[in-house]
């Protein structure tokens, strides 16, 4: 799947889910691989330091004795972020606090297959960066 096809797929997701501001795919260091966003996206969420926090958190969460961590939902005062682990890639769905969290998780499941294919390519090229 080409990069433009990913962005087109993410744009479709943005249209479908009310309150969703952005779909961002990053690597372990928070570097953006692919992104689709609305103008409502807060600038701070595009910072690699913010996006990389989940890769650290999921690595630690996977050590809690419940096998690998798949996802995390973070609720803030005005926003919510659904993080998905497809190591070596990570997907962040950034939405308003009033958005449908269950729907975001469902959409995350829908994105699992195409993202997994992209992750497989990354894994081949960077075999050391894999948290799974």
């Amino acid at each position: 799947m080409e990069g433009e096809q990913f962005e087109s797929m993410f744009d479709n997701v943005l249209d479908r889910v009310s309150g969703l501001h952005a779909v961002i795919v990053t690597d372990r260091d928070g570097v953006i691989v692919s992104k689709s966003a609305t103008p409502q996206l807060p600038e701070a969420t595009e910072d690699p330091a913010f996006l990389a926090t989940f890769s650290l958190a999921t690595e630690q969460a996977s050590k809690l004795g419940l096998s690998g961590n798949k996802s995390a939902v973070c609720i803030y005062r005005e926003y919510q972020v659904v993080h998905l682990n497809h190591s070596p890639l990570f997907v962040s769905l950034i939405a308003s606090d009033e958005a449908n969290t269950g729907l975001l998780l469902g959409v995350g499941e829908e994105l699992a297959e195409p993202i997994s294919k992209l992750s497989a390519v990354f894994r081949q090229r960077t075999p050391d960066f894999d948290l799974q």
């Binding site: 009310s18 449908n100 969290t101 269950g102 729907l103 469902g106």
Partner: protein, 116 residues
Amino acid sequence: LLYRLKGCGCLSKATIDQLPREASVGRMEKGVDGVLEGAMSLPGVQGALAADDQGLCLGAKGTAPAAASGYIAALAHRASQLEPESRFSVCVESEAMNILINADSDATVALYKIPA
């Protein structure tokens, strides 16, 4: 939750009164579980699901997949926008199953029923 089951159109008040009620402080999950279990005993009902206002699954029984809670809540939300501040029910019909959805500001209930 019981009111939402009635709103699905397949329960009378008399039937609802017969459903088990186990809600009490400290056993919230058993209360939801009991109501869904009671719904499962109704004729034709293959599955029952309850979701909160954020689309997260409160409970699912039978053929109702827990993963559908977000989609069901989203359907109910979209339907409510057609006619704000009015009560409504949504019925999704297919050859194999009818899904009856009823919601208010707090919770959404869906029943998976075999088509008559």
